[in-house]
Symmetry: C2
Subunit: 236 residues, 2 copies
Amino acid sequence: MTDKDSDASSAPERKRGSGVKMVYDLLRDEILDLVLPPGSPIDEVQLAERFKMSRTPIREALVRLAGEGLIATLPNRSTMVSNIDFLNLHTFFDALVLMYRVTTRLAAEHHRQEDLEVIRARQAEFAAAVQAQDALAMIATNAAFHSAIAEAGRNPYFTGLFNRLLDEGRRILRLYYQSYDDRLPQRFVDEHEDMIAVIAARDVEAADRLARTHAEQIVEQIQKLFARKDRLEIAL
Amino acid sequence: MTDKDSDASSAPERKRGSGVKMVYDLLRDEILDLVLPPGSPIDEVQLAERFKMSRTPIREALVRLAGEGLIATLPNRSTMVSNIDFLNLHTFFDALVLMYRVTTRLAAEHHRQEDLEVIRARQAEFAAAVQAQDALAMIATNAAFHSAIAEAGRNPYFTGLFNRLLDEGRRILRLYYQSYDDRLPQRFVDEHEDMIAVIAARDVEAADRLARTHAEQIVEQIQKLFARKDRLEIAL
DNA sequence: AGAGCGATTTTTGTCGACAAATAAAATACA
DNA sequence: TGTATTTTATTTGTCGACAAAAATCGCTCT
């Protein structure tokens, strides 16, 4: 599967400051989409020749990824994709539920007209992804939908924290969606519609309530999933 | 003031992997303690000769700091210490209050016996700093106190988010404490004692209530401060 | 044959140097 | 004298190379 983007394009020229960002973005996506599963070794020289650049910009991208906890670096030895902490999964869900509630509540309070259009656009993309049964697109558009709601809440700290959590969760969600064979989430589409309605109505309490049940339902589904497949085949 | 640590120690040898961490830690502290005020230019070569090392490890440290938003990098031009966003200060306080509440609440729920000892130790250090009227120590020990409470809550995501906020706030708190001439915070010492008591009693609702009033009181003081000094002399 | 020890290989951390990009200075021109 | 343009200088981004650490392999000795 040497897919999508050919790293060695015919033009060997690359714009000056773009190296690190390109490597960072691509590696990050590959990690979050489980193309690079947890535990995968990260080889600097391999990446260097893959992107046809020196090790220096690669290292800077890796430092950034390490700063976000996506890769783990043993002092003088290898560096690899960080593991998912399955044991403390419930703490992650607690945080996720809270941020769902807070951001949705704030959106109901502070959103402007333009925000709603953005949110509806994201919701349309999510619905399309569900229709097409495209798991990766579902994850991405679902995150974008809730991220747009958070943006409408107009608190950059909360949106920052929330996006951070959504990223963390992308790997877990990836497991979730791919296990359910890309069906089922039609229900989420409807719930999203309800959330948009209460936000538009500026019904803060209802927004909080909906966000809570929405989040808790997702959490319940995922936990059910992890209870079934004994976590042995996925944990490494 | 060529203080504390002499960068050029008699031994020109430094341990192999320690360069980036040393630069990162020091720069980070200098930024958060306002030794490097917002807007200060960061010169790579200057740092390089100051630490007697190449620009490569310095750059990696800077990349990490930029990842945390502590420094801002103009594409091909200079990099400098990020500004404090005074305009959206209230959003920061909203986030801070919420995290105070959540972490204290969880601490009341999930703490163990050992946690209380750690918390009490931090509280003692904070009281000592207040007694000594040492502003920097007050900030550090206050943050450590609340961080210990968060740890007792046993949710690494919340502690991570919370510590992040506390760091962000260190610069603002620095302004706050240095303006009040290092007196007044005796009241906080007492409130901390109350918080410890309700946590130990596992009174979740009381913990939430205390954390909320404690946080909101701090916020109110700081906002009062920023209303007075017209923010002109401090904003740059 | 197995364990201990030294040499080789691999990978990381650091270095000095070069080239692109931008700002600052100098020059020309109206 | 003021403005546009070229030249210089400063600073960043990238490169190839070297040296330290760790792991791997091979050898020796009992």
